[in-house]
Symmetry: C2
Subunit: 231 residues, 2 copies
Amino acid sequence: MRLDDPTPVSSPPRRLVRQSLADGVADELRRALIAGELADGAPIPEVHVATRLGVSRGPVREALIELERDGVVEFDSRGRSLVRPLTEEDFEEIFQLRLAIEPLAARLAAQRMTPEDHANFEGLLAGLDECGTWEKFHAWDVEFHEAILLTAHQRRLHAAWRTLKLQMARWLMELQRRRSLVTGHKLPQTIKYHRRLAALLIEGKAKAAETEMRWHIGVWGEWLPAVKAKA
Amino acid sequence: MRLDDPTPVSSPPRRLVRQSLADGVADELRRALIAGELADGAPIPEVHVATRLGVSRGPVREALIELERDGVVEFDSRGRSLVRPLTEEDFEEIFQLRLAIEPLAARLAAQRMTPEDHANFEGLLAGLDECGTWEKFHAWDVEFHEAILLTAHQRRLHAAWRTLKLQMARWLMELQRRRSLVTGHKLPQTIKYHRRLAALLIEGKAKAAETEMRWHIGVWGEWLPAVKAKA
DNA sequence: TGGTTGTGGACTGTTGACAATCGACAACCA
DNA sequence: TGGTTGTCGATTGTCAACAGTCCACAACCA
């Protein structure tokens, strides 16, 4: 890339973005949360995180606020932050919210799909072939749903969904750890369903995509028993 | 109230809550935003707010982050905060999101209504009689919808809705300022509809309340033309 | 012994100061 | 003149320190 060309680079590749320390701290906390390094209900003293990561308390504070918005951290009445325990009701809530958000997003995405989105989804669809394990598939799945939310072009809808994303990841890890997942679902079958949904989106069949997504989330909600077994 | 009684006061009345400066700053900014004292797109330098309110930049930072979550403030690439301009697309988005959230909330609220909630809604219903002006009614309306979201007992749903609340207030003020509101709607009629919705909730008719709310939001969405006229 | 009263430690809330970044505008030069 | 290079002011990012609050535990007393 030539650096003496004065025309600005507008598209994503090779653009320098300054990432604040707060963002870095948030990323690190997210990682730790998903990795299960922080137990449910464990306190997260600002000072500890700060010294551990070699920053001051300011950025840590901001990161914690960010994570509170994502629903994985909560502040007690005295302002101390702690890992928000996962409860069965949370799962139920997340289920309801997904049911409200994602079918709508699917409809809008199908309606508003541009040629670029089109190509994007074709690529995703192709990537599905390489999902030989549940682990790979789950990674693909998150990317897929995120793509739908992005394609819907609704900032607020996406923001609401984002707050669910991290929590779903935590559930997934927790369930995998207990090996209580994959409750009667076959991977090839699951992949088939996703292929179907992706096809509807690509074809721009808005109403059908919405219905399919509603059903899709419903299936996901069937994990609830596994969740109950854990809680 | 006796202060030498060791039993803690759990219910709302007379309980001392420490409000951080950040919360106070956020409240003040919210007020200014709704009052129209901050123009669309106007920068909000931390230092200005801090000196104006006699606090340091820390709490102001946190307040601005809070308002960004509420969707009324945005940060540019360099971290500077500014008043997020209201656009027609925003209104459309808010409409879609309300349509996804509130009917669901109404259904859940009707299902889960406790005797206390019951009394609460009865009180609200009575308060409707004193809404002689649109202004009073709008205040009542916000309280009403908030009560529904609270009664649904879904943290995340409520959180998603809260981010819309402030923005709706901004729209309302903006439209009132332009006198482009009340587009063919009569106040007594509007009050009648609300009375009907409230009755369904109180009677616990979940499905009917959900449908009514969907229609209700749909009517609200008819303000869109007025919004377009403004934008 | 049972309840009250210090006292220390662990945190958070808030602040003021310093460093870094960026736009605007002036100075400079080929 | 057109483009490049300083420089200044405005604003945010980050930090270290201080003050306030609360819990836990010990000391104390009736």
